[in-house]
């Protein structure tokens, strides 16, 4: 089973209506956003999003003239309690793996919260977390829940 999720990123202008335009494209192609995050600079923003069928989403966006980058990320189920995130980060630190950025899912996994991690070395990250018996939420599990 594949542990990794495919995240789609695109550049959008940092101005009113830009995010709405992208959402219109998704609506037109009947694509639901599972989760997303927005990073901003002075002139442009980077929109990263996860949908159920990334290939279909990529094709839809490209057909609308948008350029999309595909990146592997992982979703981790984190105990919703004090020190929950720290326990995950400790494992990654020990393996010298850097978290480039992270963001949350609106869905929950029982008593746990699900967070998306973008790691500088995803292969070693998955290995370190699996060895520590940390719950990684793969594509199959993530989209079956809905």
């Amino acid at each position: 089973m594949d542990m990794k999720l495919k995240q789609l990123s695109l550049i959008i202008p940092n101005e009113p209506g830009a995010l709405a335009h992208t959402c219109e494209v998704l609506k037109k192609h009947k694509i639901n956003i599972t989760t997303l995050t927005l990073a901003d600079t002075r002139d442009f923003g980077i929109l990263r999003l996860i949908t159920e069928n990334w290939e279909e989403t990529k094709k839809a966006m490209e057909s609308e003239g948008l350029v999309v980058k595909v990146t592997d990320v992982i979703a981790i189920s984190i105990p919703d309690q004090v020190g929950g995130l720290l326990s995950i980060l400790t494992i990654l630190n020990k393996a010298h793996i850097n978290v480039e950025y992270m963001y949350g899912f609106s869905i929950q996994d029982g008593a746990n919260s699900v967070q998306v991690f973008r790691l500088n070395d995803i292969e070693r990250g998955v290995q370190a977390l699996t060895e520590a018996h940390i719950g990684i939420v793969g594509t199959a599990k993530l989209f079956k829940k809905k």
């Binding site: 990123s9 550049i11 959008i12 990073a39 600079t41 442009f44 003239g65 350029v67 990146t71």
Partner: protein, 457 residues
């Protein structure tokens, strides 16, 4: 069906490899001895000046204003006595004021895209179309193309001369023409692959875009049958040629032309890629000092001025092209006696002056190509803020450049900024923009928007 192990085919391949091309009789005028060529040019010059003088009142008035008559043209050098023509002459006489033929004899009209003011209109008689086709057939033959080639014409079809010009030329050669026209990059790549296209005609920047698109589709251009690229309609650089040739199996040839004269096919490079040979029996070239208008000696760089020696519908006498180049009569390895121009990488029209420094869009292209090995679409905006000229380069982020991290994107922005600054020596602001948001055109692309005067008012 073509048999792969056909010995004749193998022999033909060997001949190609040796860079020697089977002689096509259509090329005969390319090898006229200089003396004969000059005599032919003079006869045709006298005829065309007479034709314009008798049939085009606008031209006659200009001649009369400086006291020159067709009888003053006794030798080729007397061309210098004739008045220049400029784009403004075409605009002032819009639409048909420069025509020397009745409309009944005109079989085709083309027009420029007209980015500023009225478009300019050009007309062709049946003979003019034949001349146009002939120069293209000679050009295509000079790079080794034959009737066996399959040619994809990806210039825009329509009022722009590029599409139909290349189309008629390739068809007259007997090649198979695929009129793809511009746009729909995905389909262009599919045609290249599925149809076994051997030759493509388009702008060099569009072809670089096609290379990127093919990569995105997982197609290696080196596996295609494509071997000839005929590129024109915009100035380009050695870096662009190298990029194209390194990423494909084609040789990239420069074709030169402009609608006011005939369209593509005024000059074209031969197999030795040593600068376009001018089809001098049809188009008489001079190089002038753009400031004084004086004719410059061979080898000196200046503005190219062309006189159409055979054009019936719309004779152009001493048309100022705004293209900067030089002419050489040094013998070419191909043996053609037609003189060559230096490949045009600068147009005086496109040049802009910022804080006293001359900048050409091709310099910005060189900088962009050097960074990511890709030529994204871009646009230059000039503004005046607090009495200081500023230059902003907007660059469309393509598939090779996009990243999911802010760190990568800002680093890219910095790299582009630094590289452009190093080449042009002026501080620039680089702005990364979303793909497909900058203006597109099918012919010559307008790269520079100058808002400085508007800001002042």
């Amino acid at each position: 069906m073509i048999q792969r192990n056909n010995p004749l085919r193998a022999l033909v391949a060997l001949v190609y490899m040796a860079n020697s091309i089977i002689f096509n009789p259509v090329s005969a005028p390319d090898y006229l001895p200089q003396k004969q060529l000059k005599e032919l040019q003079l006869t045709r010059l006298q005829q065309i000046v007479n034709r314009a003088y008798s049939n085009v009142p606008h031209f006659r008035a200009k001649m009369e204003a400086i006291g020159v008559t067709p009888n003053d043209i006794q030798k080729l050098e007397d061309t210098a006595k004739l008045p220049f023509s400029m784009k403004s002459d075409l605009r002032d006489t819009y639409p048909f004021g420069l025509f020397a033929s009745p409309m009944n004899d005109v079989v085709r009209l083309h027009a420029s895209s007209g980015t500023t003011g009225k478009p300019i209109v050009v007309g062709y008689t049946r003979e003019d179309i034949e001349v146009w086709k002939n120069s293209l057939v000679r050009g295509m033959t000079s790079i080794g193309m034959t009737s066996q080639d399959i040619v994809q014409v990806s210039y825009g079809y329509g009022l722009f001369t590029g599409g139909l010009g290349a189309h008629y030329g390739a068809e007259a050669l007997g090649a198979t023409v695929v009129p793809a026209s511009g746009g729909n990059t995905h389909r262009q790549v599919m045609l290249l692959k599925d149809f076994g296209i051997t030759t493509i005609c388009c702008t060099p920047s569009y072809f670089i875009h096609l290379i990127d698109q093919a990569q995105a589709m997982g197609i290696d251009m080196k596996t295609l049958a494509l071997k000839f690229g005929i590129f024109g309609a915009e100035p380009w650089t050695n870096e662009m040629r190298a990029y194209i040739e390194n990423n494909t199996n084609i040789k990239a040839y420069d074709i030169y032309g402009l609608s006011e004269i005939v369209g593509p096919g005024v000059a074209m490079e031969c197999i030795y890629q040593a600068g376009p040979h001018i089809f001098e029996d049809y188009f008489y070239p001079e190089i002038i000092d753009p400031e004084t208008g004086e004719v410059l000696p061979e080898g000196k760089q200046g503005e190219l001025v062309l006189t159409t020696l055979c054009k019936q519908a719309m004779p152009m006498i001493r048309y100022r092209t705004r293209d900067l180049t030089s002419i050489t009569s040094e013998p070419c390895k191909c043996g053609r006696t037609l003189r060559r121009i230096k490949r045009i990488s600068t147009r005086s029209d496109d040049m802009f002056i910022i804080r006293g420094v001359n900048v050409f869009p091709t310099q910005i292209e060189t900088a962009l190509l050097a960074i990511e090995g890709t030529l994204p679409h871009y646009q230059v905006i000039l503004r005046r803020e607090n009495n200081l000229d500023t230059i902003e380069v907007q660059v469309e982020v393509n598939a090779k450049m996009v990243s999911d991290t802010v760190r990568d994107m800002t680093a890219l922005e910095k790299r582009i900024t630094r590289n452009i600054q190093q080449i042009i020596g002026i501080r620039v602001t680089v702005k990364l923009v979303q793909p497909n948001t900058l203006q597109r055109s099918e012919g010559k692309i307008k790269r520079v928007t100058d808002l400085r005067n508007m800001n002042q008012n």
